[in-house]
Amino acid sequence: MLYSPASMHIPDGYLSPLTSLVMLILVLPFWAAGARHLRQRSAARSVPLIALMAAFSFVIMMFNVPLPGGTSGHAVGGALAAILLGPEVASVAVSIALVIQAIFFGDGGILNIGANCFNMAVVLPYVAYGIYWLAAANTPITSRRRVVGAALGGWAGLTVAAFFAAVEFGIQPVLFHTAGGTPLYAPYPLSVAIPAMVIPHLLIASVVEGALTALVVLYLQHANRGILQAPLAAEAPAEAVSFRRLRLLWVGLIVLVIATPLGLLAPGTAWGEWGSQQLATMGLGFVPHGLVQLESLWGAPMAGYDLPALGNASLGYVLSAVAGIILVAVVAWLFSKLLSSGHQEQHG
């Protein structure tokens, strides 16, 4: 890789076209959120702003950041962009930088633009911003907590992004192989891909990302405080804050949904969740009569978080998670409607 040796531009060939397509679909709502955010300002003003910020994101990837001990590396700059512009706009700016790298410089796959943007322009800025926000909200501009929050945000953001890249690699051999079992794309399962991607990142590349983010925030605290003020100040209205909090929650949920197939790695059954057949083999000597009777009362539509008709356990896990979230969201929404209508009637 030419620009950022420590980063993770996925070239074409590592992911199946289906994965690339799904990743592109996943990134679309974040681009839409960024576009909506930009439209709130003057459209004419946002065109040069986003172009310059994308160009800045591109150029910052070329900066060599020295770490204590002699190691050095290149940062992605996604965490810095998120702190300065807010995660929505940062998402668009970093995506444009990545698209230009892929199409005009042949760096990073063209079919994998969606996956690269999801990892580096969505996961990285949103996670980094969430952590920075937790550390820095309601602190003065010159607070040390902002520098620490920026460092932690950059570090965690890139580590989580590496984790996502690893999950994208790790599901390939499970989902896409020849009839003889030969993996067609990235060959390593999740159990190898995750440690192989995450451990080097959290030791070096993520440290570089955190260091650059913190260094620039530290510089701006001394040289140009106005720039640091903007994104957090934009959140001042209480409603906006709660909306943003809720949105972060949704992002967190999406992250968890995508990670659910990891459960397939765990051997055995969760403690205390044994079925009657497993209980019989555990040395208990008998199976409680009541348990056998009650067990047959309810047959779950997605037993074991799987849909056998799909023929794919990982997809079954993800769909089960999505179905569960929709179900809980609908129940919660109905419940809140019920409560609020009762509340209105009392007042009315």
């Binding site: 060939g13 590592y14 310059l52 900066f63 050095s72 930088a97 230009i100 005009f104 620039v216």
Partner: protein
């Protein structure tokens, strides 16, 4: 960890055997490297050749179709044929074949090659070569590594063909053919231009700093300098975006852009597109 060098990347500057290159030198090398590649690509794009003469819309759609064929193929032979097809196109487009091939095949083993090496042993399957008792290269491991290496090298070669045979502003026009909104294309064009301006600015900043440094900077001083340089570049970018906004507004820009009427594709462009789509269809059918 998974990156591969584009085929047209110039050779990295030789490192001094005794003198460790510092942050300033490394950043300067990265910056000039990008500018050099960009200029080199523009120069090749203006040479006479098969792909240079084709409409960028036809090239872009053909490239994406061929990339999909490479990605979908379950057959090593089909991917190898597509690689040869890309090689043939490079030859007919007067691209330096040696650079085109050696770059891919020299750099690929350093990235993808190292990555797939353990897969030779870890992928479960029938034994291909037994090294010592308990350690063996499996047949599925070899096939899997071959798939990855061939797929990545063919995809990189195809993308390189597009980059080296199309001027960047032609590529931008081609993107509008894919129904990408005009505002996004406008932003992409502006970004591309300002990347070069910011690269020159960064180059000037680091060069001027280098000219004032005697001896070696400490690690901590280098870190502070990188933070300050990135901060200054950010300030300059923001200031520039304000100036560009005022300049655009003074010329009547109101937040949307109009595209010039597209020039119709010529018969040879349609022919090229048909050949590429035909090759894609055959490759997908053979490699299913």
């Amino acid at each position: 960890m998974v990156d591969s060098l584009p085929a047209h990347a110039p050779a990295p500057a030789p490192a001094h055997a005794r003198h460790r290159r510092g942050t300033i030198e490394r950043t300067l090398a990265s910056v000039s490297d990008v500018m050099e590649r960009s200029l080199y690509a523009e120069e090749l794009a203006h040479r006479p050749g098969l792909l240079q003469g084709l409409d960028p819309r036809a090239k872009l759609v053909s490239l994406i179709a061929l990339l999909v064929a490479v990605a979908l193929s379950h057959s090593l032979l089909v991917i190898a044929m597509l690689y040869l097809f890309a090689l043939g196109l490079a030859w007919r487009s007067s691209l330096p074949i040696e650079t085109f091939t050696t770059r891919v095949w020299l750099f690929l083993p350093f990235f993808t090659g190292i990555l797939v090496l353990p897969a030779l042993f870890l992928t479960p399957g029938p034994v291909f070569i037994s090294l010592t008792p308990g350690i063996a290269i499996t047949r599925t491991g070899v096939q899997s590594a071959a798939f990855l290496l061939l797929r990545v090298s063919t995809s990189v070669s195809l993308a390189t063909l597009l980059v080296l045979t199309s001027a960047w502003n032609d590529l931008l026009k081609a993107l509008s053919f894919l129904r990408i909104p005009d505002t996004i294309i406008l932003v992409l064009g502006m970004t591309y231009r300002y990347i070069h301006l910011l690269l020159i600015t960064a180059d000037d900043m680091f060069l001027s700093r280098k000219s004032r440094v005697v001896g070696h900077l400490s690690n901590a001083a280098e870190r502070r300098m990188v933070g300050a340089s990135a901060g200054v570049l950010l300030e300059k970018s923001l200031q520039l975006s304000g100036e560009v906004y005022l300049a655009m507004q003074s010329r009547g820009f109101r937040g949307y852009s109009h595209r010039a009427t597209a020039i119709p594709m010529q018969r040879r462009d349609w022919l090229g597109l048909t050949v590429a789509l035909g090759a894609t269809a055959v490759a997908i059918w053979l490699g299913r």
